[in-house]
Structures are given as C-alpha cells and as structure tokens.
C-alpha cells in the first residue's frame, strides 16, 4: 500500500505566545514550531501499516517553521521518502489553502491512502485532512484511533466517539483518514538516528503549486484570554461555598 502522510508544523506552546504589532498574527521573533501532535500519530499509524502489510510511506510537509527537522525525523523513524513543498509565504497558509496545495500535488499520482492528523492547534479556517478529502472527492473518516488493512483495496478504521465508544468503519481505497491517535504512542527515535538521517538521506523539494482558494474567514483581532494570577478564594460556610461552586459550574455549562 502506498501511503502519504501529511505533516504540519504548529506553534510550540512552550514559549509564551506574543501577538504581533499588527494584532492579527503571532509575533514570530521567539516562536518555535513543532510537528502537530496528531500528525505525529498519523506518521506512527502509517509506519505500523507498513510494518504489518508492506508498502511505502512518503512524508510530505509545507516548508515552514522547522519542517525539515520533522521530515528528517520521519525518515529516521522509517518513512521511505520525504517531500518538502517550498515557496510557502512567511505567514503560512490557512488550512483550506494547505488542503488545496496538497490536493494539487497529490492529484498527479494519488496514493492508496492519505493519512494526516485530524486537527491541529492552529486550526481556524478548517481542518486540512477533511478539506483535502472534500477537494479530491475521496472518502473520508476522521478522529480515528486505529487504521488497519485487512484486505486489498480497503482499510478498517475505528472512529472515536465520546465515552470510549467507537465505530468500526470499512473504507474503500483510495481514501483520506484523519488520525486522532495511533494504536501505540509515536515511537522514540534515538537522536543518533536523526543525525544519521541528516547526513545520509535527502529530502526532495518541489515548488508548491499555486492554487485558487475561495475567500476565507479573516482574523480581525487576535487576543489572549485574561490571565489569572492566583485562585479566587471562595468564602462562607461550606453550604454557601457549595452553592457558589454550583453557580460557577452552571455559568460554564458544566451542570444544567
């Protein structure tokens, strides 16, 4: 089975997020990027499928914020090929535009299965995996906790619902799957292997095709929620405080 895994880089929340003077984007001075968590799982899922059923795994990423590190790590973990799409604007692309770019590239030689994380922390104008499926007219299931390939031409996914419930869905290939988590956590790659990959392997590069995207939503103000320094301490008798707690929960929709 030929699998393409889409990797996207998202802001690393370790650093304090600062808003740029424009007020509509993040300040990039100290901003670092890391591989989106569910994309990490998508890669792991792809490698598991390859281990079990053979085939090839290609990791593909838009050239933005430390994508190269993610691609070399993917190679070190066992991906057969890594592709970097260049010419991405500095501010990045929205998810709808990213889907269009990936779609234009993948249309040329569609793989059997496209795996991507179902969501990312910087999603605003959509989710890349689902949008890509829609654009390519491929069947799509998202929020999966496992993907298996019991026979040729199809995959069997488990789609997660709240409360630990899941639906097992058989999907005809070619298809797009939006991975939430892989059946096992993304495997650790010893740093020595990553360094080796940097020295011995190459990432292929190609120019991201220009695509037409319908006018999308626009951020007109980016802001941070009000921080709290310390807990607001409740007061009164236990009965009074219990009532206060329930009122707080009600205001948050946590109790009816």
């Amino acid at each position: 089975m030929n699998i393409v895994v889409l990797l996207s880089m998202v802001p690393d929340l370790v650093e304090e997020l600062e808003i740029a003077p424009s007020g509509v984007a993040l300040d990039t001075q100290w901003l670092r990027y890391l591989l989106s968590e569910s994309d990490d799982h998508a890669l792991e899922q792809a490698l598991l499928l390859k281990e079990r059923h053979g085939g090839r795994v290609v990791a593909m990423a838009l050239d933005r914020g430390e994508a190269e590190e993610a691609l070399y790590t993917a190679l070190a973990r066992g991906a057969d090929e890594a592709v970097k799409l260049t010419g991405i604007p500095e501010e990045g692309l929205g998810k709808r535009a990213a889907a269009a770019v990936f779609g234009a590239v993948l249309k040329e030689s569609p793989p059997d299965l496209i795996l991507a994380g179902v969501q990312a922390i910087d999603d605003m104008d959509g989710h890349t995996a689902g949008a890509l499926a829609g654009l390519l007219g491929l069947p799509y299931v998202g929020v999966t906790r496992s993907v298996d390939a019991p026979g040729a031409g199809k995959v069997l996914v488990q789609k997660e619902y709240p409360g630990g419930l899941a639906a097992e869905i058989e999907v005809d290939l070619p298809a797009v799957v939006g991975v939430l988590s892989a059946p096992q956590p993304p495997r650790y790659v010893p740093v020595a292997r990553i360094r080796e990959a940097r020295k011995t392997k190459t990432i292929s590069e190609r120019e991201a095709p220009s695509v037409a995207v319908p006018e999308g939503p626009v951020i007109r103000r980016l802001f941070k929620p009000e921080p709290a320094e310390r807990a607001e301490m409740l007061d009164g008798t236990p009965e009074e405080m219990a009532k206060q707690i329930v009122t707080i929960l009600e205001s948050r929709g946590l109790v009816r």
Binding site: M124, H127, G130, G134, P139
Partner: protein
C-alpha cells in the same frame, strides 16, 4: 420549500437513539442567531427510524428529517452527501455543527465540497450587519481570534459547552418535514461494520470532560466513594495524584502528573491535593480548576481558578447535596 437565505441550520447529532447534549446548545444559540438574521431555525436530522427524536427539537421552527436505511449509522460520506444536497438547494445562511467527532468530519467535507468558508472551535457567534463574526479558540485556549466571515453561506463548528443548553430545550413539538434522501446511498464508499462499546473496567481519564482528583487529603480508601459520587453527578471520572495511586487505591490509569497522564478536562476539581509541580504538570491545561485544600498556602491555589481553603470533608457532603438537587431524575 421557502427559503429566506437567512436561515440557520443545526445538524442534529444522535447516537444510539439519543440526541447529543450539545445539539441543544447549538439550537439555543441558533435560535438567537436566527432571530438576529430574521430567518428561521431549522434542525436537520438524518437517520433511520429516528423520527421520534424530532419531538425534542421544538426550539427549531422546523425539522428536516431525512429517513434512509443507508443513514442508520453515521458515516461522514452518507450524512455529508445528504447535508450537502439539502444545503445546495435551500442555501442556509449559517450551518452549525458541534466541534465533535461527527461534527468535525461533516463540517470539513461539506464546506470543502460546497466551497463555503468554515470556522472551527467557535465559542461566540454574533451578527454584524451582513457578516457572521465569531470567536475561534486556538492553541489549546491560549489564543482567541475574532474572525469575520464573508459570503452568503458559512459553516461553523462550535465548542461543546460554549453555549448553555437550556436555551435549546423545549416542550413544544416542531413542524417536521420528512424527506427521502436527496442522494442515492447505495454506493457509499464506506460502511459501518459494528459499534465498539467501551471496555468495561477502566476509564480513559484523558477523555473525561470532568475530573474529580483526589490527593493525600482523602486520607483513607473508604473515603473514595464520596469522590466517586461527586464524579458521577458531574458526568466525570475520578483521578488521583501519585500518592493515592501508590497506595493502590486506584489503578495506574487514573494517575495524573509527570509520572502519569496529562489531562485537559473542562473541569478539574482538586481535592486534598497540595499542588506539587509534578502533579500540576499533568493538569495545568484544565479549562476550569477548583481546588479544595485545608492549607490556604498550598501551591495548588497558584494554578486553580477558584479555591476553597477548608476541610474537604466539610464541603463535599453539601456539594453533593446541591448537585443531587439539580440532576434531573431519570425518565
């Protein structure tokens, strides 16, 4: 089918014969938005033999009920194709989905195939003139964006809990328009083979919306049922800091902290937990944290939103009573 081009549609999520709770949140907000737009609120219900569910959707002006055996189980393809066909005909101004497993898939597919804008993870929606303006939550809640949409149709996914569900509840029965599927569903490229029930036994605390966390302050194993009752009333699960797990009172899968799980529930109630950094590391992303500890200087109060410096055994019984009084009795 009359359309004003200003209608608000709410996709009704249902599973195992029950409408999902947050659908009522969408209906409540949808009612308000439809009013602001001067349009109607339409609930879209798709499935097989689920018409009785329509009776709970009385806040809507009408229910579009699509009945087909091929819609019995939710599939993004089947339900997505139906929704798209209906929407392309009736052109609703706004389509509301939950930011949920089913909602996310549908919203992404429908917006891409219809070429309409989508904003995800909304926690506020307002109408400004002819624009739908939303607040979208990003970066795990650390960043909020005020987003303006243009165009005649917009799709949104809404965070569960963003709006109160009371406003979406009604005793009235709405007008129901029953339709056959506008698209053929005999050649879907996916099919649900079975539903997998959660394993009896343990709870995945990383997925629980509410966590009642117990620390050393619980003192004895036989105090656990108090925490368990509280968790049950709140629709959540019990978890613990390391010392409680070490005692063997709860399995390892319930441990929160550096050596355990990292959790990000909507509500974290910390009982008798001091707030050592190793524990805080596992729960600091919780949306709302209330901490109860008899020591007012416990470090947990540095990370909690609200604090109660009191003996938890004084507070818990009365809190449980308050919650019991509010839980609707099972019908």
């Amino acid at each position: 089918m009359s359309t004003s081009g200003q209608d608000v549609w709410v996709y009704v999520e249902h599973l195992k014969g029950q409408v999902a709770g947050h659908t009522y949140e969408l209906l409540g907000k949808g009612r308000e938005i439809a009013g602001a737009l001067g349009g109607r609120l339409v609930a879209v219900l798709a499935g097989s033999e689920v018409q009785p569910l329509a009776g709970t959707l009385g806040v809507a002006d009408s229910v579009l009920y699509v009945e087909d055996a091929g819609l019995a189980e939710f599939t993004p393809e089947g339900h997505g194709a139906v929704l798209r066909a209906l929407a392309e005909k009736d052109l609703p101004r706004l389509m509301l989905f939950g930011a949920t497993s089913a909602g996310m898939d549908l919203a992404a597919l429908v917006s891409a195939t219809m070429g309409i804008p989508l904003v995800v993870n909304c926690k506020e929606i307002v109408i400004e003139g002819d624009r739908v303006v939303v607040t979208s939550q990003m970066c795990g809640g650390k960043l909020l964006g005020e987003v303006e949409t243009v165009g005649k149709m917009v799709a949104l996914t809404v965070l569960p809990g963003a709006f109160p569900s009371q406003k979406g509840l009604s005793d009235q029965a709405p007008a129901v328009q029953k339709l056959l599927s506008p698209v053929l569903l005999d050649r879907l490229r996916m099919r649900v083979t079975r539903l997998l029930e959660p394993e009896a036994g343990d709870v995945d605390i990383t997925r629980a919306p509410v966590l009642v966390a117990i620390g050393r302050g619980i003192q004895r194993q036989d105090n656990l049922p108090l925490a368990e009752e509280l968790a049950g009333l709140l629709g959540g699960a019990v978890c613990a800091s390391r010392p409680v797990i070490d005692q063997g009172w709860l399995p390892l899968t319930r441990q929160v902290g550096k050596s355990g799980m990292v959790v990000k529930p909507k509500f974290y109630l910390a009982l008798g937990i001091s707030g050592a950094s190793e524990h805080v590391e596992g729960m600091k992303e919780s949306e709302l944290t209330i901490a109860v500890n008899s020591d007012p200087r416990a470090p947990i109060f540095d990370v909690a939103d609200y604090g109660v410096a009191a003996d938890m055994f004084d507070l818990l019984p009365t809190l449980i009573e308050e919650l019991r009084a509010r839980t609707p009795s099972p019908s």
